[in-house]
C-alpha cells in the first residue's frame, strides 16, 4: 500500500534551497608570485585583490566558482585552485 502511494507522491529527494557555497578554494603561494595582477584583473567574481605590496590576497573566498581562470593563467604557477565538492 505504501508503495502505491509513493507512485503518485512527488519524489522524496530533498532539493536543498539555493545557497551560496564556494565551489573552489584559491591558494596563493606568495613566494613565487611576482605581482603581475592578471589573476586580480580577470577573476570574474572578484575573489582576489591586490594588497599594498602588489600581491594578490584572497578577500572573498565565498565567491569562488572554481572556474580555474587564475591557476591556468598564472605565469608563475603561484596559484592552485582546489574544487570543493
Amino acid at each position: 500500500m505504501a508503495d502505491a502511494i509513493s507512485v503518485i507522491q512527488p519524489p522524496t529527494v530533498e532539493i536543498a534551497p539555493r545557497q551560496k557555497k564556494p565551489r573552489g578554494e584559491v591558494i596563493v603561494f606568495g613566494n613565487w608570485c611576482k605581482g603581475c595582477g592578471l589573476c586580480v584583473e580577470f577573476c570574474p567574481t572578484g575573489v582576489l585583490a591586490l594588497d599594498e605590496a602588489d600581491h594578490p590576497v584572497v578577500v572573498k573566498p565565498e565567491n569562488c566558482t572554481g572556474c580555474h581562470w587564475c591557476d591556468t593563467h598564472c605565469p608563475d604557477m603561484a596559484i592552485v585552485v582546489r574544487r570543493i565538492e
Binding site: 591558494i27 596563493v28 603561494f29 606568495g30 613566494n31 613565487w32 608570485c33 611576482k34 605581482g35 603581475c36 595582477g37 592578471l38 586580480v40 584583473e41 580577470f42 572578484g46 585583490a49 591586490l50 594588497d51 599594498e52 600581491h55 590576497v57 584572497v58 578577500v59 572573498k60 591557476d71 591556468t72 593563467h73 598564472c74 605565469p75 608563475d76 604557477m77 603561484a78 592552485v80
Partner: protein
C-alpha cells in the same frame, strides 16, 4: 582598488605561508616541475612563457605520458629557458638550432615525443632554415613557437614577427619590414598540423598542444604572447593585464573569421585562432627512414 585593499584589511588576511617543498605537492601540474631549480622563474611579471609552460604540462598530463617519454628541446631566448624548469628529458641548445638537435634526437629515438620550444626569433630568424626544412621533411617533432613579436631577452630589437609600424629599440621610428606569417610559412613548407592561439585563450592552447603531440608528423603550435616589458613598453600598450585584454579583443576564432565577407577577411588585422591546417596524407620521416633501412638491408646481403 582601494576598496579591495580595505576589504582585505578588514578581513585581516594573513599571507599564506607554505613551505616550498609542500607547494610542489599541491597540484599535479606542479609535480612536473623540477624541484631543484630556482623558483620563481626568470621571466618578467605577467610573461606568457609561464602560461605556455603550464599549458604544455597540462597537455602532457592529459595524454598520460610519463616524464621519460618526453624530450624537450629549446634554443636560446626567453622561451629557451622553459625546459629548465620542467622535469622531462631536456636539451638546451644553441641559438636557433633547437629543431636541428630535435631532428637528430627524433631519428635516434623515434619512440620519443620530441617537443621543440622556440621563440619567434629563434624559430624564424636564426633557425629559419631549420624550421622550413623540418616542416618539409615532415619529421615527427612538435614545435611550440611563442610569438612575442620582439627579441625580449636582448633588449627589444625587432624580430621577424614585429608588425609593420611598431617600435623596437632598433626601429625607433617604427618597423618597415613586413612580418613573417609563421603559420602560413609552416603550411606552405609542408607541416601536417598547424594551430594558433594566444595565451589569453589558454584552454584552447592546451587542446592544440595535445593534438599536436598526438600528431605523427611535423606539427606547429603558435602561442601569441606579446612581450610586456619591451614590446609593450616601447609601443605604449600598457600593463600586462591591459595587454592580455588586448589579446582577447584583437583575436578572432577561425570559425568566425570564415563567416566574414571576402572584403572584410582581406582587411582583417586580428589574430586568427584555431586549427589552421591538418594534413593526414603525408608520411612521417622516421617511418620512411626505417622502411628504407629495412628495404636496403633486406635486399643487400641475402
Amino acid at each position: 582598488m582601494a576598496e579591495h585593499i580595505l576589504d582585505a584589511h578588514e578581513l585581516d588576511v594573513d599571507e599564506i605561508r607554505i613551505p616550498r617543498e609542500n607547494w610542489f605537492e599541491s597540484s599535479e601540474t606542479l609535480q612536473k616541475l623540477r624541484k631543484n631549480k630556482k623558483f620563481p622563474t626568470i621571466w618578467c611579471a605577467g610573461c606568457g612563457n609561464g602560461i605556455v609552460m603550464g599549458s604544455l604540462i597540462r597537455a602532457i598530463e592529459h595524454l598520460g605520458l610519463s616524464n621519460d617519454e618526453v624530450a624537450l628541446v629549446s634554443g636560446i631566448g626567453c622561451a629557451g629557458r622553459m625546459p629548465v624548469y620542467m622535469d622531462f628529458n631536456t636539451l638546451h641548445t644553441n641559438h636557433g638550432r633547437a629543431l636541428a638537435f630535435a631532428t637528430g634526437l627524433k631519428i635516434a629515438r623515434p619512440d620519443m615525443k620530441v617537443i621543440a620550444i622556440m621563440g619567434d626569433g629563434d624559430a624564424l630568424a636564426i633557425g629559419g632554415n631549420h624550421f622550413i626544412h623540418a616542416a618539409r621533411r615532415n619529421i615527427g617533432i612538435t614545435s611550440i613557437v611563442i610569438n612575442n613579436a620582439i627579441y625580449g631577452m636582448t633588449g627589444g630589437q625587432y624580430s621577424p614577427t614585429t608588425p609593420i609600424g611598431k617600435q623596437a629599440t632598433t626601429a625607433p621610428y617604427g618597423n618597415i619590414e613586413p612580418s613573417f606569417p609563421l603559420c602560413e610559412l609552416a603550411i606552405a613548407a609542408g607541416a601536417t598540423y598547424v594551430a594558433r592561439s594566444t595565451v589569453y585563450h589558454v584552454l584552447e592552447l592546451d587542446k592544440y598542444i595535445e593534438a599536436a603531440i598526438r600528431k605523427d608528423g611535423f606539427s606547429l603550435v603558435e602561442a601569441v604572447s606579446y612581450c610586456h616589458t619591451t614590446y609593450g613598453r616601447l609601443n605604449k600598450f600598457g600593463t600586462a593585464p591591459e595587454m592580455m585584454r588586448d589579446l582577447k579583443k584583437n583575436s578572432i576564432s577561425k570559425a568566425a573569421y570564415e563567416k566574414l565577407s571576402a572584403k572584410r577577411q582581406a582587411g582583417n588585422s586580428k589574430i586568427v585562432r584555431g586549427v589552421l591546417h591538418v594534413n593526414d596524407e603525408r608520411e612521417e620521416f622516421t617511418k620512411l627512414c626505417r622502411k628504407l633501412t629495412e628495404q636496403a638491408q633486406g635486399g643487400g646481403r641475402q
